[in-house]
Subunit: 395 residues, 2 copies
């Protein structure tokens, strides 16, 4: 027997980019459990557990809560394909890359996107959100809760209230927030929230959790035409996962096992404990970065706990820094893109990646990499982070 | 720490339905290897290996050969979304469920489907295919190479030749044939072939291999409008996986690891050896089923080696038989649906499921289950299958 391809042997990486994140050994174990069929009673038992656990993570009582068989981007497309009908006016809060992607999808699905724009990294105040929606009178509103391209958090409460006043549904991209920061779908008033398996949930990429309010379900049932996408048709998916268990597609069983396990880990940690862990590690990292002399791109009240975006110091080649981190230390962080290309680093601390040990290891390695590129740190990042940890422990 | 959810503990099943199939331990090991980022140089190395190995499995030199981040149905939708433009006339050879699904997708994407129909389980002869395409003068032609709902094989050579004479592209659904039977994309003249990871490739479900001819790529580049689906836009996927490595979505890394390993196993076995193994186990199973007194639904020259469809004997409750197989023996087979509901069993012997041991184990268990439902077998299925194996070994 010839062996043209040796056994797969991936390098060990410490994943601290915008995702995917580190995966708990227990989730890898679940991934490698023997699969059952996609119509097996055991599979639907796993599906029910996932639905229940996702309701906990999203903070919702929505009956329609499940995982789409695609990555986070498939979740975004499912939201657009099902809730934007041809000709619908869609108001989009545009302050980063993922709002642009939503805009592109709305166009492709025949909607009429109307955008309120801000520079990447800024967010929308309650009043401007309300004025925008009053003026546009949209049928659908979309915003990105946690913008992975900038590191900024967009609060959703005022947007949702104003949208509902004009009779619009609200779609929220929670790809980077779910599992790492409060999402609180019901309390916020979000109608359609989608996410991914690989960031705050710390499962490998491949699934897109989604939850849909009863108000949005009514809209779906009243559609004039079926969604253009068959694969992402939520009514067909509902018939498969809920009630009738009517065959739609062959669900990615192993990924469902992994997602179930990742969510069970969250239930055991406790969602609020988990948020607090993310907040604490974020604050320590920022203390370290600022001590070294780096400036954060996003203003303090709007910073994500899960994705940190320090600016690249003047004159420093960000690609050189990142290459050195990857090659010398096996650490992945990513850079900015679009208007932020070369201007920010994107450092993710989500799920299993959000630990004190990783924060300190990254600060050490980043200091070495920055120095190699000619940067002179103002003070030790590690020492500032350690101090932040000891202060928060004393509280 | 509360433990509301115990560790995942799936039952051991022998998967002999229409898919998913059994998965080699080595593939499960690959699934549980530590992930890297979706822009990591190592990931693109795995992607290149998958592309090379898929060319081998598909029998093609097509540069554009990759895996879509969704299940086989996402592969089907990618084919329709990219190659059917609004208003395009699409000729569909309709003799089973998956042709109906293609028809539905063509409608949703604005195409104009024209169908040539046959009862489920029959296939189209060369002449009728040619006459149909001459008459319809379509822009796109679609057929299902191996129909999972019926167990019938549709030869593609005459369809492809006739389609190209009228300037049409040919889409072939190879979901059930790839890795288990000859597909030979280039030799047959198929322009767009898609499949799934979970049947003949014997990887868990979750990815959809796809290959596109240069002729079809030209059509894609000349599209008047971008495909309605962004997630399945093959030009964007090409920019991600090939050449520029421009970020599109976060690929499901673990599934890519698994697919790479499943394909490496095929390369080691040798594609033709693998086909022969599938043929041999199919013939032995059929010998056993016929000895018991069951009749095959599909005529001998058109039977799939990978999916066997014996008719349910008169007066026997197929659901009762299948339930007994699952509960008593842990074996999954499925029944028919649509016009074949209650009329056939669907027994898959693909990839790691296609072994002599599984054929014999199934025949024994099926005999017991049929007897429990009141059927009296004419002779021992096991003995007939063993005889078929000894004959084929002596040849």
């Amino acid at each position: 027997m010839s062996k043209p391809y040796g056994p797969l042997n991936p390098p060990g990486r410490l994943l601290l980019g915008p995702g995917p994140m580190m995966v708990e050994p227990r989730v890898y174990q679940a991934l490698s459990k023997p699969i059952v069929g996609h119509l097996d009673p055991y599979f639907f038992q796993v599906v029910e557990e996932i639905r229940e656990l996702l309701r906990m993570a999203f903070g919702t009582k929505n009956s329609f809560t499940m995982a789409i068989s695609g990555t986070g981007s498939a979740g975004m497309e499912a939201a657009v394909a099902n809730f934007v009908e041809p000709g619908d006016r869609v108001a989009i809060f545009a302050n980063g890359y993922f709002c642009d992607r939503i805009t592109e999808m709305v166009r492709r699905y025949g909607g009429d996107p109307v955008r309120l724009e801000k520079p990447w990294g800024e967010v929308f105040e309650d009043d401007e959100a309300r004025q925008f929606l009053d003026r546009v009178q949209p049928r659908v509103v979309a915003f990105v809760h946690a913008e992975t391209s900038t590191g900024a958090l967009q609060q959703g409460r005022a947007i949702c209230a104003a949208a509902h006043e004009v009779g619009a549904l609200v779609i929220a991209d929670c790809v980077t927030s779910l599992g790492g920061m409060p999402v609180n779908v019901d309390e916020t008033g979000i109608d359609v929230a989608y996410s991914c398996s690989q960031k705050g949930l710390s499962c490998p990429p491949g699934l897109a959790p989604i939850t849909v309010s009863e108000r949005a379900m009514e809209r779906l049932r009243a559609r004039r035409t079926p969604p253009r996408s068959w694969y992402l048709d939520l009514k067909l998916l509902d018939d498969y996962y809920d009630g009738a268990h009517r065959y739609h597609h062959t669900a990615p069983i192993s990924m469902f096992y992994a997602l179930r396990e990742a969510l069970a880990i969250i239930a055991e940690e406790g969602l609020e404990n988990r948020w607090e862990r993310h907040r604490r590690n974020h604050l320590a990292l920022v203390a370290g970065l600022e001590a070294m002399g780096l400036k954060m791109h996003v203003a303090p009240p709007h910073r994500l706990w899960v994705l940190n975006t320090p600016r690249v110091p003047d004159g420093i080649d960000d690609a050189g820094v990142r290459r050195r981190l990857l090659e010398q230390d096996g650490i992945e962080i990513l850079g900015g893109f679009g208007p932020l290309a070369g201007k920010i680093f994107r450092i993710g601390l989500m799920g299993a990646s959000s630990t004190e040990e990783n924060v300190l290891r990254l600060l050490d390695a980043l200091e070495r990499a920055l120095c190699a590129e000619g940067f002179r740190p103002a003070a030790s990042g590690r020492r500032a982070a350690e101090q932040a940890y000891s202060v928060s422990a004393a509280q």
